[in-house]
Amino acid sequence: MAEPKTKYDRQLRIWGEQGQAALEKASICLLNCGPTGSETLKNLVLGGVGSITIVDGSKVELGDLGNNFMVDESSLGQSKAKCVCSFLQELNDAVKAKFIEEHPEALIDTNPSFFSQFTLVVATQLVEESMVKLDRICREANVMLIFARSYGLTGLVRISVKEHAVIESKPDHFLDDLRLNNPWPELRGFAEAIDLNVQDPVAHKHIPYVVILVKMADEWIKSHGGSLPSTREEKREFKELLKARMVAMDEDNYKEAIDASFKVFAPRGISSDLQQIIIDSCAEVASNSSDFWVMVAALKEFIANEGGGEAPLEGSIPDMTSSTEHYINLQKIYQAKSEADFLVIEKRVRNILKKIGRDPNSIPKATIKSFCKNARKLKVCRYRLIEDEYNNPSLPELQKYLTDEDYSIAVGFYILLRAVDRYAANFNSFPGQFDGGMDEDISRLKTTAVSLLNDLGCNGLTLTEDLINEMCRFGAAELHTVAAFIGGIASQEVIKLITKQFVPMSGTYVFNGIDHKSQLLSLY
């Protein structure tokens, strides 16, 4: 076994070879390598990201030794970017690591095209003004962007990408695709060939529940004018019919059938999430449409035609009590239909590509196959520009959060994080940044916060005195544990964005290190 493969074993079991390959192709730019940025990057370097470029214009000070693991005493006075870069290089020599001794703000102002070369930019510890500028630059250049900030016992993480489509969303719990409420002919035929009334007790208790339910549902339909159980009474009756067929107490297959009977009653067709995706305007494809939307267009056609209102069959079945023979044969039936559906979709994809003037073979078979398998779980994430969120946050959401006990500290911090940036723009330092004059800083921060709330249209809503005091107490400190937490979250989201697996968070994550009631705010 090759060494790199073994080293990454524990993570390959999560995102597989393809995910790893995507990571290894990615180039990441980090802005500011204090502990927040350094910890974010550390997790990505350990994971094997392709290349990193660290941008930071500061020199290592004594205080940095107290919160940043990537610098040590020998780094004092040197470029922080250089020191962090060399430490990170040690962590994984497969990663190409570079640094640029430059203040990110300067780069943002004077050399915006610098950012176009990267897959993703991790922007840490930026103030509002720089965030807005960078956001525009990256959005224009189609470079993924994630903001991360630590401030005392609070902080935030926010992705900013125009659109991120996920095929392999790999949700924790997702209903299997058994079509017990809508069996196709081959499945029906397979079930028909098995006799539920077999005499041998071993055979009786090793008939898979899928077969039991398909047959019992069919029987019901025949005696109920063509429809499946729908009322509570009918559903109960259906379960009783199942129970009546048990010849012994220990027939696990029948118990499984009863537990799974809800799958027979479930409504047919696609979920509302999927419905939203296929009616999205991007599904009207043109020559510059992404592969994802081309496949969605094909999916839309399939659902309306061959699919009969259903998405392509996923193809796998869960484990269930069964004889090996029945189980294997049942698996084959599902795999065959899944394959058949895939071939139809593939044909449609190639036709659509031709129609929009693209090479019909430009989307690989494997991609289309994965798309089909994951069709029911597709996710499209879109993020507003920071500027829009800041200028037009969803007022009802904001008001709801500010008055909800569990949310109030996190939302309070969200407002205060913006308030301290305004404060800094006015007074050239953060409130409480220096000892002495605390009372004045508190009062100034309060005024700033109130005016911000007014600008947002939340007149009358206030933040507690305690929280404002606390924000001044923080004095813009970058605490290692908070930075490590924020960095962990940010790095995890970066991995999802780059591997295009799992669903990235939506909204703005606000960390609440006081009682850990952090919140994900959807301010759209």
């Binding site: 524990r10 079991r13 002495g436 107490r473 923080f474 490590a484 994550y509």
Partner: protein
């Protein structure tokens, strides 16, 4: 105008430790003394030097703690390197605790970390009593249960069944699996202990042996057949060693054969390892998140610089991002951290008399009690073979049987007769012997 403070390593931490606040712990006394005391007096033990342990050591070293110790019985493996960032390729084979301690001390000057390359069970109780806070970066229920029992054993209660603050040994416990994890604060006597909430951990899924033998359906069944059933057939007597590559290869080959026999797809070497070793997928980011939360709580508990997590944080990053704080309540009848029932008696009372006393004790009403003390079964009502073996203890003074300590904990199990209803019960008892020299305060009951 504001004064710039002279440059200090503690530049950022000072904001939390030196300044007063309103959203802080109950006994918070901000100031230079606090910061210095944290450095000089606070001793934290990190249990585990793996994915969580490495992060914990770094986080604690950069949170003002200067006296740390770390215990781990494992050696570094290649598969650790994607997240246990204190280790390099050339460290493979060396003890984790030793390398981790060394690396952190190299980078963070002033911190002292003592490594212990051994099992947690190999240490005396005195070892654990030395620490103010124990931070856990473990990956097994068994290890957590052990440390929990140790930490809770220091807890003492007063005669009003209130826990005594100076005997509380707080723990912070973290766990991760893929994109999920948890961080919790355990203050024995205040929050639930690990045992109070053991139902939070679902038991491991086990396949029926007859499915493995007769009706395998998937690759995991074939692998477990080879591992649990076929191995013994071919290697009678020799224990299967999951870390022995030859053993693993043997299981893999057998699993492949079986899969071919039944027409089952999907047996790979990687899956074989995963099933047999119960490998939990792991990444750096989740470990970083959970450890950071644990270290932050450790800082708060030690210094009071902010309110603490109350008391269980769950984290899930699979779909978006979800964190939730749940305040679990401790089980007052918990055998490990609960106060138990106070029983006071003379040093002359025999075991038989003691057992009779339990029947009348208003808080117990326990008849036919069997008694166990520190792993020694003093008297067993059943089965007959044990009853015979322990019968002779009945006539001995309980004080002697308890090694002549003035107070200690024992456990009794028997039939509880309450409100005319009989049920079986297991109770923790705080036994206090009256009139023994050395027990200055009659109100002090309990023991370790």
């Amino acid at each position: 105008m504001a004064d710039a403070a002279p440059p200090s390593k503690s530049r950022d931490l000072d904001k939390l430790l030196l300044r007063p606040g309103n959203l802080v712990g109950p006994s918070f006394e901000p100031g230079v003394q606090l910061r210095d005391d944290l450095q000089e007096y606070a001793k934290v033990l990190v249990v585990g030097a793996g994915g969580l342990g490495c992060e914990l050591l770094k986080d604690l070293a950069l949170s003002g703690f200067k006296n740390l110790e770390v215990i781990d019985m494992d050696r570094i493996e290649v598969t650790n390197l994607n997240r246990q960032f204190l280790f390099r390729l050339e460290d493979v084979g060396k003890p984790k605790a030793e390398v981790a301690a060394k690396r952190v001390m190299e980078r963070v000057s002033g911190v002292n970390i003592v490594p212990h390359f051994c099992r947690i069970e190999d240490k005396d109780i005195e070892f654990y009593s030395d620490f103010n806070i124990i931070a856990l970066g473990l990956d097994s229920i068994e290890a957590r249960s052990y440390i929990n029992a140790v930490a809770c054993s220091f807890l003492e209660y007063d005669s009003d069944d209130n826990p005594r603050e100076e005997t509380m040994k707080p723990m912070v416990d973290g766990g991760t699996e893929g994109f999920k994890g948890h961080a919790r604060v355990i203050v024995p006597g205040v929050t639930p202990c690990f045992e109070c909430t053991i139902w939070l951990f679902p038991p491991q899924v086990k396949f029926p042996l007859c499915t493995l033998a007769e009706t395998p359906r998937n690759a995991a069944h074939c692998i477990e057949y080879a591992h649990l059933i076929k191995w013994d057939e071919g290697h009678s007597g020799k224990a299967f060693d999951p870390d022995n590559p030859d053993h693993m290869k043997w299981v893999y080959d057998e699993a492949v054969k079986r899969a071919e026999l039944f027409g089952i797809p999907g047996v790979t070497y990687s899956l074989t390892q995963g099933v047999v070793k119960n490998i939990i997928p792991a990444i750096a980011s989740t470990n970083a998140i959970i450890s950071a939360a644990c270290a932050l709580e450790t800082l708060k508990i030690a210094s009071g610089c902010s309110k603490t997590l109350s008391n269980y944080l769950t984290y899930n990053g699979v779909e978006g991002l979800h964190t939730k704080v749940t305040e679990f309540v401790k089980d007052k009848d918990c055998l490990v951290c609960g106060p138990g029932v106070l029983v006071e008696l003379d040093a002359t009372v025999t075991l038989q008399k003691f057992i009779d006393m339990l029947e009348e004790h208003p808080k117990l009403l326990m008849s036919k009690a069997s008694i166990t003390y520190r792993g020694k079964n003093l008297y067993m009502q059943a089965p007959p073979v044990l009853e015979e073996m322990t019968r002779s203890n009945l006539s001995l003074p309980l004080y002697d049987l308890m090694d002549k300590v003035p107070k200690d904990i024992l456990h009794a199990t028997g039939t509880i007769n309450k409100d005319n209803k009989k049920s079986s019960g297991l109770r923790k008892l705080r036994v206090n012997f009256k009139g023994i020299d050395g027990v200055t305060d009659m109100d002090m009951a309990g023991g370790a």
